[in-house]
Amino acid sequence: MSKIGVFICHCGENISATVDCEKVAAEAGKMEGVEFATDYKYMCSDPGQTLIKNAIKEKGLTGVVVGACSPRMHEPTFRKACAEAGLNPYLCEMSNLREHCSWVHEKNEQTTEKAIDLVKMLVEKVKKNKPLNAIKVPITKKALVIGGGIAGIQAALDIANAGQQVIMVEKEPSIGGHMSQLSETFPTLDCSQCILTPRMVEVAQHPNITLYTYAELEHLDGFIGNFKATIRLKAKSVDYKLCTGCGLCTTKCPSKKIPSEFNEGLGMRTAIYTPFPQAVPNKPVIDRANCTYYQKGKCKVCEKVCPTGAIQYDLPDQFITEDIGAVVIATGFNVLKTDFFPEYGYGKYADVLTGLQFERLASASGPTLGEIRRPSDGQIPKKIVFIACSGSRDPAKGIPYCSKICCMYTAKHAMLYQHKVHDGESYVFYMDIRAGGKNYEEFVRRAIEDDGVNYIRGRVARIYEKGGKYIVKGADTLLGSKPVEIEADMVVLATAGVSNPGAEELAQKMHVSYDAYKFFAEAHPKLKPVETNTAGIFLCGACQAPKDIPETVGMASGAAAKVIGLFSNSELTREPLIAVVNRSAPPVFSTCVGCCMCQTACPYNAIEREEIKGRDGSVIKTVAKVNPGLCQGCGTCVAFCRSKAIDMQGFSNEQMFAEVMALLNE
C-alpha cells in the first residue's frame, strides 16, 4: 500500500495568486494512497525542505509529489531532500503548478481544478515509481575548446592551468579572433593586441594545450565525460613540421590582390598567407580557392622559394578523433556588412564602413598603419559620422535586440578619431546611449565633453554620395525632429552583432539549442549562463549573444570553472533514467524476442544483441541488451518494441499510462 506525501508550494504568491493552494492540498489528501498532504509558502526553502524530510520520516512515506515550479528548475533540489531523509530520490516527482498553471491562467476555479488534476497525475505516477540507483561512468579528463578568440583562449588557459588537458580548434589559420582585429579597447584605450598576443603565445606554448588551427569540428558523439570528437584538419598545403615561418613564400606569391579577411577587405593579402604579422602559429596556409596553382595548374613559386621544402600541394584534409570529457563552445560572433543597408548605399560607397573596418583603420597594424584615411582616395576625413544601432533594435530589419557593444565602441571610435585628426569634426547619431558597465558612462561623457564629439539623438534616413562627400540625412529628435544634413567624408556604421554563419550547423552537430537569431542558448538565462542544455557542453563569449571583452572573459572563466569542476571527479554520477530490457529467472528469461528493432531506433548505438546460453553452451535465446554507459534515456526504443520487453526507468509504460488515466478519470 502506497503512502504518498503531497507538498503544495505557494511560491510566495506566484502560485497562490491564481491557485487555491490550501484547496489543492486538501483535495490531494483525499486521493487514494495519499498519506499526508500540506501546503507551504516556500517549499524549496530550508524550512520547506525540512517539512518534507520530517514527513518522510514520521509518516514513513513511500513516495513524494511536490506541486511547485517546473521540474526543470527544482527537481534536483527536492530529490536531494528526499534522499537526505532516506527516501530513494527517484520516488520524488514534481507537479508543475507554476509555469504550466498559475502563471498561464487567470485566477478562477478551473485553474485550481487543473492544479488538482496535475497533482493527481503525478500521485498516480509516483505510485508506480521504483527506487533507482545512480549510474557511475568514468570521465575522460580532456576538454575541447571550439574557437580561438579571447573567449576560447581564456577558457583554454584556465583549464590548462588547472592541470587538465585541452584541445583547441580554430577554423582560421591563426587564433586571436575579433579581438586581435581591434585597435584600442574601451574604456581604458589600451591596445588590444598588446594585451591579447601574449595570451595567444601562451596558448601555443602551453604543455597542456594541443592547438589545431585551420580546423573544424566535424562530428561529436557520446555524452558528458565520454564524448568522441572528430576534427577536420583542413589542408594547409604547408608542412608545419618543416616550416620555420620565415615568410619568404608570402612575399613572393604572385596572387597579391585577395581582400584580407583580417583587415576586413581594406587591405590585400596573398594566396599563401598568415592572416597578420602577430599570428599564432606564425606559419602560412595556402588559400586554395585563390591560388593560381590550384586554379590554373601552374605557378608553384612558393615551393621554389621555400628554403625548407615545406610546401606540399597534395596534402588532403585530415581527420582525427579525440576522446574528450567536456566541450566549451567559444565560436564568437560576426557583424552585419554594409551591403545589408539599402538606405546607406547597399555597400556601394567605399567610405561607408562597418565598425570593425574602422578598427582596422585605427589599428597601428592596419592597412593605413593607424592613420584614419578614406579607402576611396586615401584622404584624411575632416568630417566623420558614426551611426549607432545600424540594424540593431530594428524589428523591421529582423534584429530587434540591442547589440550591446556598439554604444561603447562608437564612443571609442569617435574619440580615437578626434585624437588622430585634431581638426576633424565627428558626429554620432544614436537612439539611446547604453553605457552600463564599470567606467563606461564616464568614458562616453569624456568623448562628448573632453573630445568634443557631437552626439545627435536621431536616426539617419539616408546616405548618398555627392561630389566625393557623403550626404547624411537624419533628424535631431531633441530639437523637435529637426532635419539634419551633414556632408561627411566618411561614415561608420555600428552594424549589429549577429551570429556566425556556421553557428546553426555547429549547434545541430552537437545537439545544443540555439535561439531565433542562431545564437547558442544557455541552459538557464540567469542561473546557468555558461551551460547548454546538453550536459558536458558549455559556452562562453559572443556566441551566446553580443558582449564586450570583460564579460566574455568572465564567462570564459566561468565555463572553465565548470569544466574543472567536472574533471575534479574521476567518475561521473549519471541519472539512471535509461532503457532496460526485462529479464527474469529461467525458464522465461525475457519477453524480448530478439527482433532488435530497438537497435535500429537507438541514436547512440547503446543497444547490442546478447545470446543467453545454457550450461552446455548452446544458445537458448537472443535478446537485446542496453549499455547503461551509452544510453541517454530518450526512450525511442521503448515505443519501438513490439513485445513491450524494453522499458524506460523513470518514464515506464506503467507510469505513463497511470498518468494519462489519472488525468482523465473523474
Binding site: 539599402p342 538606405e343 548605399g345 547597399y346 539616408r462 548618398y464 554620395e465 555627392k466 561630389g467 550626404i471
Partner: protein
C-alpha cells in the same frame, strides 16, 4: 498580338494625357494591345484611404472586379498612385477573407483577387525586354536621372517591386534604350505631391532638391513613371527655379516617351509638345 487590360486612371485622362498617349504608342510599337477597362472609376488615391478604409478599398476593388469580369488577367496601370492603390487593395483583400466578402458586398460584384497588376517597367520588362534593343533605332544617347518617387516602391513588403532605397529597373531599361543613367541620391525622395495644390512652396523646395541634384550630376533629362512626379517637376519649374535661385531647364520625360523616341516614334506621337519645360529631343535626339 498580346492583349492586356489597361487602367488609365484620372491623371492619364487629364493633366498627363501625354503619358497615356506614349504608353499606348509604345505598346503598339511592341505589338501589345491595351484594352481599357470598361466603366472604370477613381482609384481613390491620396485622399480616400486616409479618411475611410472601406471606401478606399471598395473604390479600387471595383476596378479590379470589373477587370476580372471583363475577362482580363493582367492589367497595365501606368500611374504610380493607381498602381500602388490597386496592388495594396488586392493584397489587403487576399489577406482577409472576411474583408474581401464585405467589400464584395459593397461593390455588388465578386472579386477573386488573382489579377496581375503591372506598372510600366514591369510591362516592358515582361513583354518587351528581349526585343527592346533590337527595336531601338536611335539610341537615347543622353545622361538621364531615373526618378522613381515614393509610390512605386513603398510599401515594399506589399508591392515587392525593385529595391526599396536604390531601385534599378528604370535605370536598366533606359540603359538598354541607349541612355546613360546616372547614380544619384534622390531616386525615391518625396516630390511633395501631397502639397501639390495647397502648399506650392513646399513642393518647390522638395522637388527643387530633386531637380538640382539631377542637374548637378549632369543629367540631361529626368525620367519618371508617375504623373504626380512629372507634373511637380515640370509644371512647378518656375517656382522651383525661384526657390533654387537658378535656372534649370532639364526636361522631365515619362519613361515611355524616352523609349518611344528611341524606337523611332516622333515627339508628337509621344506627346512631348505638352510639357511645360520645353523638350528639345526628337526622334533623332
Amino acid at each position: 498580338m498580346k492583349k492586356l487590360g489597361f487602367y488609365p486612371g484620372c491623371s492619364l485622362k487629364g493633366s498627363s494625357s501625354e503619358y497615356a498617349q506614349s504608353v499606348l504608342a509604345v505598346a503598339k510599337a511592341f505589338d501589345l494591345e491595351l484594352t481599357e477597362i470598361n466603366d472604370w472609376n477613381c482609384c481613390g488615391a491620396t485622399a480616400a484611404h486616409n479618411m475611410n478604409k472601406e471606401l478606399a478599398l471598395s473604390l479600387s476593388a471595383r476596378i479590379l472586379a470589373l477587370a476580372e469580369k471583363q475577362g482580363m488577367t493582367e492589367v497595365v496601370v501606368p500611374c504610380a498612385a493607381c498602381y500602388n492603390r490597386l496592388t495594396v487593395t488586392q493584397h489587403e483583400l487576399n489577406k482577409d477573407e472576411a474583408l474581401k466578402q464585405r467589400v464584395s458586398d459593397i461593390i455588388e460584384m465578386p472579386i477573386s483577387g488573382n489579377l496581375q497588376i503591372l506598372n510600366v517597367m514591369q510591362l516592358i520588362d515582361k513583354y518587351v525586354a528581349d526585343r527592346l534593343e533590337e527595336k531601338v533605332t536611335t539610341p537615347f544617347g543622353h545622361k538621364v536621372a531615373c526618378y522613381y518617387g515614393c509610390l512605386l516602391v513603398r510599401p515594399h513588403n506589399i508591392l515587392q517591386f525593385d529595391r526599396l532605397e536604390d531601385p534599378q529597373s528604370m535605370d536598366i531599361l533606359m540603359k538598354r534604350s541607349g541612355a546613360e543613367p546616372i547614380a544619384w541620391g534622390f531616386k525615391t525622395e518625396c516630390c511633395g505631391a501631397g502639397f501639390s495644390v495647397s502648399r506650392t512652396d513646399v513642393v518647390a523646395k522638395l522637388s527643387g532638391n530633386i531637380v538640382k541634384d539631377a542637374a548637378d550630376r549632369g543629367a540631361e533629362a529626368i525620367i519618371v513613371a508617375c504623373p504626380m512626379c512629372q507634373s511637380n517637376l515640370d509644371m512647378r519649374r518656375p517656382q522651383i527655379n525661384e526657390y533654387l535661385k537658378q535656372k534649370i531647364d532639364i526636361p522631365v520625360l515619362y519613361i515611355t516617351q524616352a523609349i518611344g523616341l528611341a524606337v523611332g516614334l516622333s515627339p508628337k506621337e509621344v506627346g512631348l509638345q505638352k510639357h511645360f519645360v520645353p523638350v528639345e529631343f526628337s526622334e533623332q535626339h
